[in-house]
Assembly symmetry: C2
């Protein structure tokens, strides 16, 4: 640790972190260097079992809950009214990276081992949690792990869900040995705080040369599908003035959306990621364009105002170009605030340790947004090289991984050892 | 005919035209009302055979050439140094309309029958031709019929071409009974003029309430494939300023292309008909866009200037948005002029008959552009309802069909009966 740390030195942290990241990535490893660990699949089960064994070796009290969340508890040396949780999700997207989710679990393991070995039992239970699911990569359902703990998810919601191979969610869960009542119920009422260490999945920290991002909010997000309909016609024989060109209208809308996002300024982001046209023939004027819109901002008010504006402008452009338009807003997630006290505490730690850091918004969704309405929650980022994520190219430097774990240890120490009951 | 016609009256013209259009559309008829008559297929062969029989019935001298072009000749009453040809193509696109190509053949048949019955043998041979192929719908080759007559097409060019079922062009030709030397060679040196009556396939005539369009030029046309490459990244975590959004760049280019086409003004047309993005996922910034550009204008100079300009602007936009760009111009067809004397002659006929008409450019390609460098050529349009073509909805009113045939008869009369040797 740096000269400002209150803690004992951490020998070999970098080497151990690197080794454990590689070790966890071996479960579900793809030939191209990526990782595929979908919920309740063999590679997922192997990873959870191996993590459980590692937790045992460290001397933690290990248990699964009924949906497959895995806990390793460092028991308090006294009556503890609840537990401080740290961790992240063990599942990955298809052919994802080594760090997304995995880093938060590895960091929690290393932190608890260090704290146990150095300071013995804490005053409050400290638990590392390997959340069973966050990505929604196998079934069309996200945050199954954190949702089951906090009670926002329930078995009735997943009853009819199937994966791409037509296997039911419940059957997959039972086959993996969960959902049968043999483990503790997932829903908990004893969580005092949740601390999640995660890669940024963006390039802001790297760009600004910061090692730590302390998340203040997870952004609000709206998602749309826009369908424009015009008239297909011959590219050579239809004068410009007689056209109802759906692509021309759509291009104007994309232009407007991007330019007005720039004008409103950061941290507003807008993305058109899906875009298709019909009939898609070089010499036929497009009669139909379907595209997605994804807009995000930490302020719900700004997001609402901005969205109202571009929806109106889209309608104006459609009218001007003689196109019919259908705007379907199919997601409207409000921004979620992290705990202000934990945010301040994490910032103090960075200041004391001399770590370049930044308060920021998270543009991506995380388990922390499910925990935040339920218990004091803090989400801490380390940089992602070039912002690349959900890819075998996902990378965070070993120095940044180490720095993140140091901050986590300090925070868990303050919460678990120093705090008065 | 109107009171200004020099010709005898034409009884039942409307009814006979309608009947014959329906009759020819029965060969290759689709259940939805469309027509599919691809080169050398059974429906194509049936149509050519039925047309040959009809020509015989009318009393024309009937012959095929080696590639399958079908001729019906009204022989001159004296030594004729050559033939005046009229007609169009018998093949269709997949699920095309009843009028495209077919109308020009039917019109020629009716015109020759009328002239023969009314005035007897002409001073010059008059021939109706049912050209075997124009659309390029079965094999990736267009203007096979007119190209074989004029000598721009040859067997060596089609040697390695295959259709979607992997059947070779030559094999298909041989199986249909052509290409084996049993018919006259296709290449001719005795064509005095080519007159093509065709549907407009655009909405200009209908929009301006004209019954006849006299084509002065067939437009020049350039076709491009443009590929933009940026960087895929997370929609939530990548600030606008750090993006290399290929779709944003492409939208800006489409916008520029359309706006500058408007500024340059008619008859310039520009179309982006094919457009696809990668990875095409709602929450990922597009890293790649591939799109087509089709620009057409009757003036080669204006087309060159305009194209140079937009290519430059595309490169500027790519640079501004930090994208790499590849612009592949894979077609650069020069404009083709129709014969000025025939154009004037057709216009005089319209004036004399009191027919609302318009000199215009053809935005689509036609057999006439293959004949034009080879012999005096005239292309005459009748209106297409709503400009719809290559569709079962293709429609021209019976009045307009009738008017077109009247103009054709007058023109053939002047060329075949009145002209001095």
């Amino acid at each position: 640790m740096s000269q400002h740390s209150t803690l004992a030195p951490l020998p070999d942290l970098a080497k151990r972190t690197e080794k454990m990241i590689r070790w966890l990535a071996s479960f579900g490893a793809n030939p191209n260097g990526g990782v595929t660990r979908l919920l309740y699949t063999p590679s997922w089960l192997e990873a959870q079992s191996a993590l459980a064994q590692k937790m045992e070796e460290i001397g933690l009290h290990v248990f699964f809950d009924d949906v497959g969340n895995l806990y390793g508890r460092l028991e308090a040396n006294q009556q503890s009214s609840g537990s401080i949780l740290t961790g992240s999700h063990v599942d990955t997207v298809k052919n994802g990276g080594k760090y997304d989710g995995a880093y938060g679990i590895i960091a929690g393991l290393i932190a608890l081992q260090y704290l146990k070995d150095t300071y013995g039992p804490p005053r409050k239970h400290l638990e590392v949690v390997s959340l069973c699911e966050e990505e929604g990569s196998r079934f069309p359902y996200t945050y199954w792990g954190s949702g089951s703990i906090t009670g926002t998810a329930s078995y009735s919601q997943i009853q009819n869900l199937k994966d791409a191979q037509d296997i039911g969610f419940e059957k997959a869960m039972l086959d993996a040995g969960f959902g049968n009542g043999s483990h503790k119920p997932a829903n908990r009422d004893d969580v005092l705080a949740f601390i999640e260490l995660h890669i940024e999945q963006g390039a802001i920290l790297e760009h600004e040369q910061k090692s730590i991002g302390i998340v203040e909010q997870i952004v609000g997000q709206k998602r749309y599908t826009v369908v424009l309909t015009g008239e297909a016609n011959h590219a050579g024989t239809t004068p410009m003035a007689l056209r109802k060109d759906a692509l021309r209208g759509a291009s104007q809308m994309v232009q407007y959306l991007m330019d007005s996002t720039d004008r409103t300024g950061a941290p507003l982001v807008a993305t058109v990621g899906k875009f298709s046209i019909e009939p898609n023939i070089p010499n036929v004027i497009p009669n139909k364009v379907t595209f997605s819109v994804d807009v995000r901002h930490p302020s719900g008010t700004i997001l609402d105002q901005f969205s109202e504006q571009f929806e109106q402008e889209f309608r104006n452009i459609a009218k001007e170009r003689d196109l019919s338009i259908v705007i379907d807003k199919w997601m409207d997630a409000r921004p979620v605030e992290m705990d202000i006290q934990l945010t301040n505490q994490a910032e103090s730690i960075c200041q004391n340790l001399g770590i370049p850091h930044k308060r920021m918004a998270s543009g991506a969704g995380h388990d922390s947004q499910v925990f935040a309405p339920f218990c004091p929650t803090s989400l801490i980022f380390v940089p992602s090289h070039r912002g690349i994520s959900h890819s075998p190219l996902e990378h965070t430097s070993i120095n940044d991984l180490e720095t993140g774990i140091k901050v986590l240890i300090e925070l868990l120490y303050q919460l678990g050892y120093e705090t008065e009951e």
